[in-house]
């Protein structure tokens, strides 16, 4: 593409159309695959009961005589030690993973962006107070806190959402504040000020959009991290005892000695699902960052 060679050439051709911008997401194989996997997960989560061949929540659907069987036509991904279908549990497990991923992926950047924008835009005492909170929250470690809260409150995947939001906003806030502070001094903002543009216009039209690439990336990273954390917490036995989740499947596999029986399918697939979902979120983050940040698109980047 000659555009990559001459970074100025696109300026004369006008702004690329919106739909072309979003199609770029699909140009890289990793981005395409990630989007496909995420859509598959969403479909599985919504229509889990219709898609899955068995019901993991129904004890009557487990055939104890068919326990620990390898992949077959009847059970495409094998069975666990109770005779439950691994594929069905995997499909139902998408619900918890997606709920956790999407809620933290939304809550953390939004909270961080609001506080960061307030700190940078209004400055003064408000800025000092918010940055003080950031400094304190930044050094609190997540896992011990998560275990502590889980001990008292009891198992629930909302603990992951809560603590990720409580600890995650600080990093976003710091980034957004830095970005807005540097953007505030840009000539075009000065120009907007000079014709007495109202402050909400400057903030929402000029300053905040400059943080979108950063926010998209953090949203994706947070979502990926929280999916991993939820799996970990469930693996330790502090997940929701009633919900089917990938972490809990692995916990059961470990506790029931799947490793001793060589039941590789019981271990391999849930972990693969966690890895792929987390990876999809991250890849999607990179793609979204490109969508929002034209500079990354038109320069040959590394």
């Amino acid at each position: 593409m000659d555009r990559t060679r001459n970074p100025r050439s696109w300026e004369t051709q006008g702004k690329p159309k919106a739909e072309r911008r979003y199609l770029r997401l699909l140009r890289r194989p990793a981005g395409l695959f990630s989007l496909a996997f995420l859509i598959l997960c969403v479909v599985c989560a919504i229509w889990a009961d219709a898609i899955s061949p068995y019901d993991p929540n129904d004890p009557g659907d487990k055939d104890i005589l068919a326990a620990l069987q390898g992949p077959s036509l009847k059970h495409p991904l094998g069975t666990d030690s109770f005779g439950g279908d691994v594929l069905s549990a995997l499909i139902h497990g998408t619900r918890v993973a997606l709920i956790v991923g999407f809620s933290t992926g939304l809550a953390v950047p939004i909270l961080g962006a609001i506080l960061g924008a307030v700190a940078a835009f209004f400055g003064g005492g408000m800025d000092r107070f918010i940055m003080f909170l950031v400094d304190v929250v930044m050094v609190l470690p997540g896992l011990p806190l998560m275990l502590l809260v889980a001990t008292y409150i009891g198992g629930s995947y909302w603990i992951v959402v809560m603590l990720f939001t409580f600890l995650g906003w600080a990093g976003v806030c710091r980034m957004v504040r830095g970005r807005i502070l540097s953007e505030k001094a840009a000539p075009y903002v000065e120009a907007a000020r000079s014709y007495a543009a109202p402050w909400p216009l400057i903030l929402f039209r000029h300053l905040l959009p400059s943080t979108y690439p950063l926010l998209a990336l953090t949203a994706a990273r947070t979502a990926a991290g929280s999916v991993l954390a939820e799996a970990g917490l469930s693996f330790l036995g502090f997940g929701d005892p009633l919900a089917v989740s990938w972490g809990k499947m692995l916990a059961d596999a470990q506790a029931q000695g799947a490793l001793l029986f060589g039941a590789w399918w019981w271990v391999l697939f849930p972990g693969l699902a966690v890895t792929l979902l987390s990876l999809s979120f991250i890849n999607l983050g990179y793609a979204l960052e490109e969508v929002f940040n034209p500079r990354l698109r038109y320069c040959a980047h590394t």
């Binding site: 400094d135 304190v136 050094v139 609190l140 470690p141 997540g142 896992l143 011990p144 806190l145 275990l147 502590l148 809260v149 889980a150 001990t151 008292y152 409150i153 990926a224 991993l228 799996a231 970990g232 693996f235 330790l236 036995g237 502090f238 972490g247 692995l250 596999a253 470990q254 490793l259 001793l260 060589g262 590789w264 271990v267 391999l268 849930p270 972990g271 966690v274 890895t275 792929l276 987390s278 990876l279 991250i282 890849n283 590394t302």
Partner: protein
Amino acid sequence: MNRAYFARRFAMALLAIGVAVVLNFLLIHLMPGNPAQRFYADPRVPPEVKEEIIRLFGLDKPLWSQFLLYIRNVFRGELGISFTTQRPVLQVIAERIPWTLAITLIPTLAAIACGIWVGLWAAWRRGGITDFLLRTLGTAASSIPSFWLAMLLVMVFAYRARIFPLMGMVKPGLSLSERPWAFIGSVAYHAVLPMLTLFVLSMPGYALAMRNAVISILGENYILAAQSKGISQRTLLWRHVLKNAVLPLISMFSLSLVGVIGGAVLVEQVFSWYGMGLLMIRAAQARDFPLVQAAALFTIVLTIAANFVADLVQAWIDPRIRYG
């Protein structure tokens, strides 16, 4: 060293510890019911014993005086008696720390050393095969759950190939006092798979950070100046690139200290490696509140302290931070 910078960092560290201590206290009291309920959950316990327990633990006092009592005890290092083992919690924790450090510190240091070389190589041969592999596997490694990788390694190396033990820390029957070398050897043998898990997962992160730092430094003017002086590539990399590129790794290391001290909880669970992490899990499962609280507090305080020290080290090495 700049005194204002030091004072600010120190105040932040103290405040964060304060927040952790207060949270620790509030968490129990925000819960419905009485913390001592555990002792008289049995309906056969007579009411006067209940009252005696409540009085003994000071639970009849107002919340603020309980809080002062708690603070006083924390400062004295009295963090309570573990419900399950009936021993002081600090003693229980101290016994577990060496085990955790053994399997976390070695792979972390190895990962940093390895990451520096891989990252340097990938940046030097940018776009080459090492670079490509690093960027692909580096992203993947950050998405792999550690406990899952641990389980896969157990399956391949312990179950199929039978090279390494399935779990545990030492061959039963060995003791440190009788046959120290056999004991240490057995521990090292059991530690291979946990350490391998942690190494494989943390190395690409360090390498990627190193690669990005080196690439941005190679574009600096002083590198061009050094090159135009005609110095050898070796000197260039050693003296001009490496020194500056290692800086971000120091802050990464301080962030990873959470894992080093808090224990690789998940990996310890898979291998039944009885360190800090497994101690915390077992305490939490048994509702051994004093032990969970102390272990969490201990981890948090150590992490904050380590971060503080890392900040100072970084400021000491990099004058731009001190005066920035």
